[in-house]
Symmetry: C2
Subunit: 493 residues, 2 copies
């Protein structure tokens, strides 16, 4: 971890001589940022009384306030508490071309837990793991992450707090908690160091700044930001544009084998379906209500071939649910607000509140399917995505959300039959277009991508359910049954 050499005090006139150039450079940086392909996240954290608020306010004064937004995380709101812990940070991410300053950041939230017992320290480490993953993801998505830790020695901390207290204008800023923390300086310093060590990564490094002299501190933070921005801009320009893969090969052939081994000839007669459907709809209704009573949310993910019957299956499913408690999110082209954020941002947005249901009609798996095959993202991006998607779902399931993932599988012949039927049926014509035919021509490439997805994102807490969908009735009943069983199993844990 980089450390600024501390100790000496900077004279006021030397400071004032250097500020104008720095301010100019910061504004120039903001102008350049507007056209950049990445966002800037600046975390200003540090010891008590090290001047985090002062630095944040100063930077806001130096920067053009129209291009920067500042966040500090207080007690989570109830809307936040009902989602996985990282949800509140995802909703405060700047889009491409803009900058966010975090006073304390997610790190301060983690430290505020003040872990002491071994169990609390385990939880703390788990939090840090989540934070590291969060930052790595954003950095991999192109974000510039600058994290500054303002360090103050115990003696300097006491002097600063006494100085603040002696001025009636600033006395309110020193709280009894600050003095308690001061008594406990050594333990807290170790805890902060443990945090920094755990969350320090080349793409999101901690930079420790000596905060004993406020002027030196201010310049150091601004200069760090400028240097990192410059470096990052150069690096980002070298990132190659995504290209369409010339050949698609399997990463993990076991997935493809699993897919191809799925028997597609199961049938269910109209009579059988009619006799069983209502029973399972009733059970599903009961299962979802029980989950809601316990504050457990449910996320359904529907993926499958074009014309595999996702829409119809979702309709049968929702007919068992109370419409006031679920949302169906059709995943098509991202909106422009979505386009300028990390690719997972648009899915985080719709994570349900406690006891509610979100049904994704297509999902984050687009990253490793259409985006992989059409060259909408780079090879390193979709390859990394398997771990990112697993992590996203792990955050949901760890929060108690029940995740049900379905792949609706179809034979190539059956798809052709359905396409033709759609073209011939007046009110279904809007459901078929040239793109569907194009995708069909890449059937085998898609099979490989689906296979890899199945093999690499099948986890005990969020397994893939393969549904033979050549027969719509069979598929729908399978989905109902599997959903009931999975929810019941999750509630029993």
């Amino acid at each position: 971890m980089a450390k600024a050499s501390g100790g000496k005090k900077l004279a006021k006139k030397d400071y004032e001589a250097r500020v104008p150039a720095l301010r100019g450079a910061l504004v120039q940086m903001q102008v350049a940022l507007q056209h950049a392909s990445f966002p800037v996240l600046l975390v200003v954290a540090g010891d008590d009384a090290a001047g985090r608020g002062d630095v944040v306010n100063l930077l806001n004064g130096w920067l053009d306030p129209r291009g920067v937004e500042t966040f500090s995380f207080h007690k989570p709101t109830d809307e936040e508490r009902e989602r996985p812990p990282m949800w509140r940070y995802w909703r405060c991410l700047p889009p491409r071309g803009r900058m966010a300053i975090y006073a304390g950041g997610w790190h301060a939230d983690a430290l505020r837990e003040d872990p002491r017992s071994p169990r609390e320290l385990d939880e703390f480490d788990e939090n840090l793991r989540r934070i590291t993953h969060f930052e790595s993801q954003l950095a991999a998505g192109g974000a510039l992450i600058v994290k500054v830790w303002l360090r103050l020695s115990k003696v300097a901390q006491r002097d600063r707090m006494l100085a603040l207290e002696s001025d009636p204008d600033t006395a309110w800023r020193v709280t009894p908690e600050n003095w308690n923390n001061h008594q406990d300086y050594e333990r807290l310093a170790l805890l902060a160091e443990r945090m920094r060590r755990a969350t320090h990564r080349p793409t999101a490094p901690w930079q420790v700044v000596d905060a004993a002299d406020p002027r030196t501190r201010n310049l150091a933070v601004a200069e760090l930001l400028l240097a990192r921005f410059k470096q990052h801009s150069v690096a980002q320009k070298k990132v190659p544009a995504p290209t369409k893969p010339s050949r698609v090969t399997s990463l993990r052939p076991s997935g493809l084998a699993r897919l191809q081994a799925l028997p597609l000839d199961q049938m269910l007669s109209e009579a059988d379906y009619e006799s069983k459907r209502d029973k399972w709809l009733g059970r599903l209704n009961q299962a979802v209500r029980t989950a809601a009573e316990r504050g457990r949310s449910i996320v359904w993910v529907f993926e499958g071939w074009d014309a595999a019957g996702k829409g119809g299956a979702i309709r049968r499913l929702t007919s068992a649910l109370d419409a006031r408690e679920y949302r169906v999110i059709p995943v098509a082209k991202p909106t422009d607000e979505e386009k300028v954020h990390h690719y997972l941002w648009r899915f985080w947005r719709h994570v349900p509140r406690a006891g509610r249901v979100t049904i994704y009609d297509r999902s984050w798996y687009g990253r490793v399917l259409v985006e992989r095959l059409e060259g909408f993202c780079r090879e390193d991006e979709w390859k990394r995505a398997y771990a990112e998607l697993n992590d996203f779902e792990a955050q949901l399931t760890e929060h108690g959300i029940i995740v049900l993932k379905f792949w609706l599988h179809l034979s190539k012949d059956e798809q052709l039959r359905r396409f033709r039927h759609r073209e011939e049926t007046d009110y279904k014509q809007h459901k078929i277009n040239a793109e569907d035919w194009r995708n069909r021509r890449k059937w085998h490439a898609y099979e490989i991508a689906v296979g890899d997805m199945l093999a690499l994102t099948d986890r005990p807490q969020a397994p893939w359910h393969l549904i033979p969908a050549n027969n719509k009735r069979f598929a729908r009943l399978e989905i109902l049954k599997t959903s009931c069983k999975q929810i019941a199993a999750a509630l029993e844990e």
Copy 2:
């Protein structure tokens, strides 16, 4: 108010014979809606046990769930309570081309207050006035609003509740509160009628549906929706496209006179500014902190000529604020998510939480300035906007938010000087473009529009402050002083 003729019971086979065509028509409606220029809002409200939930669920089963979202409003979350009451409804509006179903809607929230005393009834009526205005605004913006009241007689209500209780699967749906309400049937029916009467408008009419027979009720609601959609589609197609005004004339010349009477020659020397600035920044900091302690939020609105110094003024202002407590919202072209919503939606989004600050750099007044003059909206739209903007701000101030509106005024010569200076100064070139020069050529038309704005949206609770801005120092100090005084005055009330 339209009333469906009730009484007879529909036989199951007659019902089932009619359902398929109705479902087909509903899905056709959704396909048509995708390309429509308006959203659909369906409110399903009614007496206890009249089957609101059943109707909502049934419609959701009949419709394609991907094009419709259902909302029901429970206890407000803390994020909602900290904003004006209508905020929670604004955040649940469907975009153009989509449909939302509201189980109970905002009307149920109003009725849930169960007003009894004259004071409570006054508040109730005030709520209804707000609701009426909300709906009128959305309707004027093109939205189709269908409001259905499911009516049940006292006897039918009792029978329905007994029937629900006798089935173990549905017994949970009847609560002690339902029985209490049943005892109080007459009073509640009167209250509901008072609500319907107050919120009944040609563009958002109530349609009362007899809910005694569920099958008749279901068909009636679906048919109403279809009929209103058809009617609305035809009407919307006749709405003319906006045109650029050929001549701009003043609606209220007093505003223009006020603008032109503003003396622009006030100066403030560097020394005077320096000596006074810090005092006022300190006062502002104190005033904003006091407001925050009392849970009062502040909204600043900055409007003014191009190059009038809005950005600089905002920077001086924010230098007195804690960066963790304010957001600056630069208002430029709407994003595509914003474009498909009502024009006020993008401003509602950023209304601050309790004790926080939002600074709008340009604002909703674009509607009666650039949109009026460039023909981005129709004449009836911008003419109606004055009342809409006043109402929006009234909702803020009634909630306790302090609204500070500034118009930064400049002479035409001074603007020219600044444009030239920008063009000649390297790091300011990005701040001037062809559009600025185009706007400048329409100076007089803009003067008229600004004058109308000043005259028509100057209210005691949210007055316009005209700032002579030929001298930047004078303008900045004026803004600081005025802000301090206005905040202090608001806190004294």
